[in-house]
């Protein structure tokens, strides 16, 4: 049931752990952070940790964090984080608890182009691909946020690809967006784009930042300079931090899912403690991109049920800490094309959704995050729609049971012409690309697969939807800023 436009209350859910289970994981995490610690080479971070009372070895870069500081950090971290949108009505409030939102994600470098005969071809991604995917995700109802999907590979050698990506994202959606591969040295540039988007209004940019920044720890137990500096800068500027561990059970984490839960928890809580030491109440999202190292094929299996279990476990653990979660890889697939494998592995996202992961990000992504498909982006809108429908549950009320209708229709007749049936149509799931016809009509309409139907939708959306909600002057200023930074970049390279 949707109570208002920014929050939704799910009616069904999943309890994976007892309180004793979560206490055991938490105490084990404290023990690791107190006895083993984490590594950071960042002198500023080392000093912040040391001043707060951590045991810092400046020679080795090892920081051991006492339990009470972590408990404080958990307490100070907000239980809800607003993802501000250019259109205020589309703000997303991530609240620790069973409230699920959906988005695309990926920093893909390959684009899978549609072909009518089902053959596959890939090519490097471009800024134009990013623009198209933003427009599509903005149009699709079931995306609550429109995170960028691909890297602007075409700008890699000739300019500031990162700023092209962020400005293209900001211009082509009125839903909340983010930046997925930030460099700490460019933080001021990202924040400048945030300010330009508000026409230079610094107060608005600080109160309602249009970006969240997403960054990853190095497992096991390392915080790179990029992570600590982004943690510090996001906290100072009240920009939501989305800190992620990508520990692989069996390689960069212990082979048991329980053990990997402990090491990834230690990494996230170490970064979160730094956030709260810098600025109490700084918004942080507990991220999750943990899965297994498939020990037979030697690859990180993102379409595995183990990933679904880890994402769900993290969602429940973070809820226990009253911190919102954003599950980055739930529903990702190892398949290289939009096929049956993709469908089956997408379905695994249902588990973290039931566990109450607050943000599930997978729209359009294939091939372990490497490849993006616009058709898959539209199909995933339908998959999200089905999952949202499931989360609403059955809603058993006296009114919904329709006892009078049941008595009226009685035995062996049908409910088709009743007023309650007509009214009920609006509440039914209604996919755009999944065909529900009998075989006959389906054949008459061209025997199209879901991918064919999705491609038609892609073309229609790109022709008819203009999501830009910015004044033309602001768009121009944003583009000018990026062009200026491109020039600086090229001058730097020339030297």
């Amino acid at each position: 049931m949707r109570y208002n436009n920014i929050t939704q209350e799910e009616r069904i859910g999943l309890d994976m752990f007892s309180k004793a289970d979560m206490d055991l994981i938490t105490q084990a995490t404290f023990e690791i952070l107190e006895t083993i610690g984490v590594y950071t080479e960042d002198a500023e971070a080392q000093n912040i940790y040391a001043e707060a009372g951590c045991d810092v070895d400046y020679k080795t870069g090892i920081v051991k964090i006492p339990e009470h500081l972590i408990i404080d950090a958990i307490r100070y971290t907000p239980s809800k984080v607003r993802l501000a949108a250019l259109d205020k009505k589309k703000d997303v409030m991530l609240r620790a608890g069973p409230s699920v939102h959906w988005g695309p994600f990926g920093v893909g470098v390959q684009m899978l182009d549609y072909s009518k005969d089902g053959s596959t071809s890939i090519r490097p991604t471009t800024e134009e691909d990013l623009r198209k995917s933003m427009i599509i995700a903005d149009w699709c109802d079931n995306y609550d946020v429109t995170d960028p999907t691909v890297t602007a590979v075409d700008w890699m050698e000739k300019g500031r690809g990162d700023l092209h990506e962020l400005s293209t994202s900001l211009i082509n959606t009125t839903k909340p967006t983010s930046y997925g591969s930030p460099e700490e040295a460019s933080f001021e540039d990202y924040n400048e784009l945030n300010k330009i988007a508000y026409g230079g209004d610094e107060e608005m940019a600080r109160k309602r930042p249009l970006i969240k920044l997403c960054y990853c720890t190095t497992s096991p137990l390392e915080l790179s300079n990029n992570v600590t500096q982004l943690t510090i800068k996001c906290a100072e500027n009240m920009i939501p931090s989305h800190v992620i561990s990508m520990a692989l059970a069996g390689a960069t984490g212990p082979v048991t899912l329980a053990g990997t839960l402990v090491t990834q928890n230690a990494e996230i809580l170490a970064s979160m403690t730094l956030s709260q030491l810098v600025n109490r109440g700084a918004p942080v999202l507990y991220g999750c991109a943990n899965t297994i190292m498939d020990l037979q094929s030697g690859t990180a299996a993102v379409g595995s049920p183990e990933l679904a279990l880890l994402s769900s476990a993290v969602a429940q653990l973070a809820q226990y800490y009253k911190i919102p979660t954003a599950s980055v890889m739930a529903g990702w697939t190892d398949s290289k094309i939009p096929d049956i494998q993709t469908g089956a592995e997408r379905g695994l996202a249902m588990l973290p959704a039931l566990a109450g992961a607050n943000l599930i990000m997978m729209g359009g992504v294939l091939d372990g995050g490497m490849t993006m498909s616009l058709e898959q982006l539209v199909i995933d809108n339908d998959i999200f729609g089905s999952m949202k429908h499931i989360l609403k549950g059955l809603n058993i009320t006296e009114e919904n049971i329709c006892i009078d209708d049941i008595k009226k229709v009685g035995i062996g007749k049908h409910y088709l012409s009743l007023a309650s049936t007509r009214e009920g149509i609006a509440g039914q799931s209604n996919p755009l690309t999944f065909d529900r016809n009998m075989r006959g009509p389906w054949e008459k309409q061209g025997s199209k697969t879901a991918v064919d139907l999705a491609h038609e939708k892609v073309e229609w959306i790109l022709e008819n939807h203009d999501p830009c909600g910015m004044d033309r002057d602001i768009v121009k200023e944003m583009n000018n800023f990026v062009v200026r930074k491109d020039k600086e970049f090229m001058q730097r390279i020339a030297k």
Binding site: E31, T35, P220, P254, V255, L261, L348
Partner: protein, 147 residues
């Protein structure tokens, strides 16, 4: 997705494998693919076990910071608990392309052919099989006479 929900809710037996088009069409390839999907759901139902032994605290402390867990005995032992799909491909794109860039249905078809060639599930004595066939043949004859 729609099989996972009744499984989590405790449905004791879930049917529908191999079926397409609301149960009117059956695909042998889908039957093999559904075997992978069922294994996935079973793994989900196994959950995440949390106990002192499962946490592997000694291993975490031994490996410490910046190293990997690949060579540990616990990792070798844990290999057998991983879910390994028959049809779903986990290779990188390059390897997948070298192996023919097959979609799940194509891999499932190869599996179907190999199973039909190599698997004989019959556990009955030849005599009993013959009795069963004879019984059905008698009933066929009765049915045709009745018609």
């Amino acid at each position: 997705m729609s099989a996972m929900l009744p499984a989590l809710a405790g449905g004791n037996l879930i049917y529908g494998s191999g079926m397409l088009e609301m149960g009117q069409t059956v695909s042998l390839e889908q039957l093999v693919i559904d075997n992978d999907i069922i294994a996935m759901i079973n793994r989900l139902l196994g959950g995440v076990k949390i106990s002192d032994a499962d946490l592997l605290m000694d291993d975490i402390k031994e490996i410490g910071i910046g190293k990997h867990f690949l060579g540990l005995a616990s990792t070798r032992n844990g290999m057998s608990t991983q879910f390994n799909p028959l049809v779903f491909d986990r290779n990188m794109r390059g390897t997948w392309e070298l192996q023919g860039a097959k979609d799940a249905a194509t891999v499932a078809h190869e599996k179907v052919m190999s199973i039909l060639e190599n698997h004989d599930p019959c556990g009955l004595d030849a005599d009993i099989v013959q009795d069963l066939n004879t019984f059905v043949a008698i009933k066929d004859n009765e049915f045709m006479r009745g018609a």
